[in-house]
Symmetry: C2
């Protein structure tokens, strides 16, 4: 456990570095602790021994280490009250009841991104664990129909089905009924095999144009995007940060944001709001990810803010919690 003075010192260094991105020297802290710079240097080198501070070179000021940020977040930081302005902007979203929920989530995260200049990420529920709850069909013309697949978590997808020959509506209906009976409750990724081994034999007996219909539906389910729905905003924001002021690094970051697999690593499977500093997250060692999961109407998803390690932790935490809370009503 750190002494009170050490705590104050660390707090100030972290917060100053968050604000300025420049290593903090001993002199600038004299006023704060009411002692000489030499004393502060001693304390600093103690904190460095503990691994809470680092130097960028032998004679530079101190910078918080990953462990330093972690200590700050765990023991020093207090979540900040929502500032009037922040609150105001978000309220315009949540008070607008005509917005669809998913739009409200996206919009509010966009605002957070704009307010903080970090990157906002909204990850929809992965459909892997989704189970089919209903299949509906809308005939469009004689060789086309629209299949609508609804999952138990409220996820909806549609597919245009082109059939190679004309099929009577009653046959389509019959097939859909069978599918609904047999498939409902099946997890999305198991539907294909169930179609083949359970549905196919049945419709072969009952439906005359079974082949055409089977193929059409098979394709519909087979291309069911197993993908997480990803929305991002403000990816360019963090590119202006001084810590990434270098073309190579910027390119790396842009590539990461472009790579869906990379972004998906941000998806959360834990309850509540969590902070992943630097190497604690799988996205980028020089960044911090703060994320939280929401649950609403059986759907769930992740919202996250990605920024530099010197992130305004207190502010972001509060903003995310505020949004999560409002989503869930």
């Amino acid at each position: 456990m750190l002494s009170e003075r050490e705590t104050t010192l660390l707090k100030y260094i972290v917060e100053d570095y968050i604000k300025t991105a420049r290593p903090v020297g001993s002199k600038s802290l004299c006023d704060l602790l009411d002692c000489s710079s030499a004393t502060i240097r001693n304390e600093m080198s103690f904190l460095e021994e503990l691994g809470l501070l680092e130097k960028t070179h032998t004679s530079s000021g101190r910078v918080p280490s990953e462990k330093g940020y972690r200590y700050y977040v765990d023991h020093i930081m207090v979540p900040k009250d929502l500032s009037g302005e922040d609150m105001l902007k978000l309220q315009t979203i949540f008070h607008n009841h005509s917005l669809v929920l998913s739009d409200a989530i996206t919009k509010s995260m966009e605002i957070v991104s704009d307010l903080t200049n970090y990157t906002a990420i909204v990850l929809g529920a992965s459909s892997k664990e989704n189970r089919v709850s209903r299949v509906e069909v809308v005939p469009l013309d004689e060789q086309k129909m629209l299949a609508i697949i609804i999952t138990d978590k409220g996820h909806v997808e549609h597919r245009n089905l082109n059939m190679e020959e004309r099929v009577s509506i009653s046959e389509i209906k019959q097939t859909v009924d069978i599918i609904n009976k047999l498939i409902v409750g099946t997890p999305i990724d198991e539907v294909s095999s169930k179609l083949e081994f359970e549905v196919k034999p049945v419709i072969e007996k009952v439906v005359s144009q079974h082949e055409v219909l089977y193929n059409a539906f098979y394709n519909a389910f087979n291309t069911f995007t197993n993908d997480t729905d990803i929305k991002m905003h403000g990816t360019s924001n963090i590119l202006s940060l001084p810590e990434f002021n270098d073309t190579k690094r910027i390119r790396e970051i842009v590539s990461k944001f472009e790579d869906k697999e990379m972004v998906k690593k941000i998806e959360s499977d834990e309850e509540g709001t969590h902070i992943y500093i630097g190497s604690e997250n799988d996205f980028d060692d020089d960044m911090t990810v703060i994320k939280t999961t929401y649950h609403v109407d059986g759907m769930e998803g992740t919202i996250a803010i990605v920024g530099p390690k010197r992130m305004e932790y207190d502010r972001v935490i509060t903003l995310l919690d505020y949004i999560k809370e409002h989503i869930e009503r």
Copy 2:
């Protein structure tokens, strides 16, 4: 009109610069024209007077000007045959018939982006001109339903409707029937007013819970995204180009790609494949946009490649044309 030698010279300079991104000096052209560097310098300064070439500084080699590229594209370049490799990769897409059309488009453009290292953009048909062709409703539970809106161009959207109170299924059906009767054929952006002034009065008389239902449907249509569907791939590709090797410029570019309004400027309203070099396009003065429109099943859209002005024009043109052609079958 340029002489034969001048044409060869310009052709070589453009193509060399496209390949290397470095100003072309007179010496490197001696072999080609079988004459001394001094002669070439004379010719070059003539082409510069015409505005076809430029220098980056007083003693640098020559670089094609915008006008130079334009001349090259209009009078010198011949579309390149599809290379075996390029063709092969694209064929894997178009021979896979289980792909939905829109996925095939996206995938093939992704391939082009990967092959060329430029950025691919796919702009879906703007739904502004779409007309409602059908409205379907799937009740989910007593206070929720799923509205599916199908347009004449085959565009499909769905909305979750939450109603403030329980509504009987027969009333919903009745409402949908009325909507279908009155709304079908209406352009999307006029639906709202038609709902209010034509549908509302009717259901007020016929349906008891008209208010709840009206609100639900009104919201559904109101949030119909009037947005162009945008897909991009390889935005980071062009960031590695030597001409943009500077943090400020990279940030600018990333911002542009992030800004939907900016990207929408690429949407094409002209038939056929066109090249917009530098200031000829509205996207970025240092880039070239090659785009083409496709029409299929009444849907239309734009596919485009964005790259540096020193783009492999011959190759990209061929690739785009190839894709357009295959889409339209």
